[in-house]
Subunit: 206 residues, 2 copies
DNA sequence: ACTATAATGTGAAATAATTCACATATATGA
DNA sequence: TCATATATGTGAATTATTTCACATTATAGT
């Protein structure tokens, strides 16, 4: 079923998911594509197109059953099954992310965090005991972790990424401003905070 | 000159900028579109198209003069002129961002940080003295700050955004998972960390 | 039961972004 | 100076994504 639809569709599905959950708590039962679209300030046809990639999920004349749709999206996105992840680099950003609640809600569990610093290794950082970077290979393999968040300093990013690949990691969320070069078997996604701020600022009138 | 080119073009310009700076330090003088493209794993035609939006910046048969191109991109992106920004919400993420080096390199200066907590206000967090949220309007106006990073808890995001708008903020980098509703005069850009991780994970083979 | 209204699902059209392909210009070496 | 190789800049083609438009189906009110 994969890759006949835009990546953006998946991201919007996630946004729908959040709103549907919220509406469930409110006790609402049905929602139209227009209703969802208005909340997100997008076109209703976009909502329908997105959902149509995954079947006929609505009911003509009535809309979408919120509970059903929420569950279907959870299924599509694989939110039911918890996935263990690790964070490598417990600097400011790394430790902030280790405490970030948003990951858990989408089915992620931070099961390991690493750093090289002697001051951190063995100690709790935001409730997580920090493992030694020298045990990276061993621990990631033992725990069969496939997803890593990379928050090390730029100058050790590539080297750390290689170690992650070797340890069996299949996906890296890269917060460093470095273009990582790994085999195609490893999916990389870059989150470039400075770039986001600059993009915003560029398209803003002074 | 604005908005005849894709937003992605601006983002790539920024990546080019980083590489050009690096190459300058190495002492290289010229680079071809192919050279740049290979570094970023994109098409060389993409590089040429991106640059062509801003003039004839290269020399046929020779390529691009690295110093000239770097300066031209800095000019396009407005990197020379420092811009003051503020961060609202000094939780884990906010304080990590207040210490983040990447912003400075692109011409941003974090001149104010805010929180509501009595324990934080008046104290230094990562080198920044935290201002009281109740002084938000006054301080942002006084300092003519136009850009804000929003890292407050989800349940106060919308309300804080409204306060920011009132204080004259024209652009918000929103790290909360909340769809902010403001007048069109305020540019909003969302950074949704959980969504990034989920997108990555979705397109990864288990 | 009938009519008016609401809403989906989906090809087709429109829009946007990327990549191709090549005419044109420059550089280099013999 | 000429031939060959290199590399830009750009209109055209391609590919991707969004939006339109409408046939179809369901609902609600009378």
């Amino acid at each position: 079923m994969r890759k006949h639809f835009p990546e953006r569709t998946i991201q919007r599905l996630l946004l729908y998911y959040r709103y549907l959950n919220f509406m469930l708590q409110q006790g609402t039962k049905m929602i139209s594509s227009r209703g969802l679209a208005d909340l997100l300030e997008i076109m209703d046809s976009q909502v329908r197109k997105d959902l149509s990639y995954f079947g006929k999920l609505g009911k003509r004349g009535a809309g979408y059953d919120i509970l059903e749709l929420r569950n279907k999206i959870a299924e599509i996105l694989g939110i039911k099954s918890k996935k263990n992840i690790c964070i490598v680099g417990m600097g400011n950003l790394g430790s902030a992310l280790s405490a970030y609640k948003g990951f858990e809600e989408l089915g992620f569990n931070i099961s390991l965090v690493f750093d090289v610093s002697e001051q951190k290794v063995g100690h709790k950082i935001k409730g997580q005991i920090c493992s030694n970077y020298s045990d990276l290979l061993k621990l990631i393999k033992e725990n069969s972790i496939k997803i890593a968040i990379l928050t090390v300093p730029a100058n050790s990013a590539q080297e750390t990424a290689l170690a992650l690949e070797k340890s069996g990691i299949k996906a890296i969320l890269n917060f460093t401003p470095v273009k990582l070069t790994l085999s195609k078997a490893v999916k990389i996604r870059n989150v470039d905070l400075a770039l986001e701020l600059k993009t915003l600022s560029f398209f803003t009138e002074d």
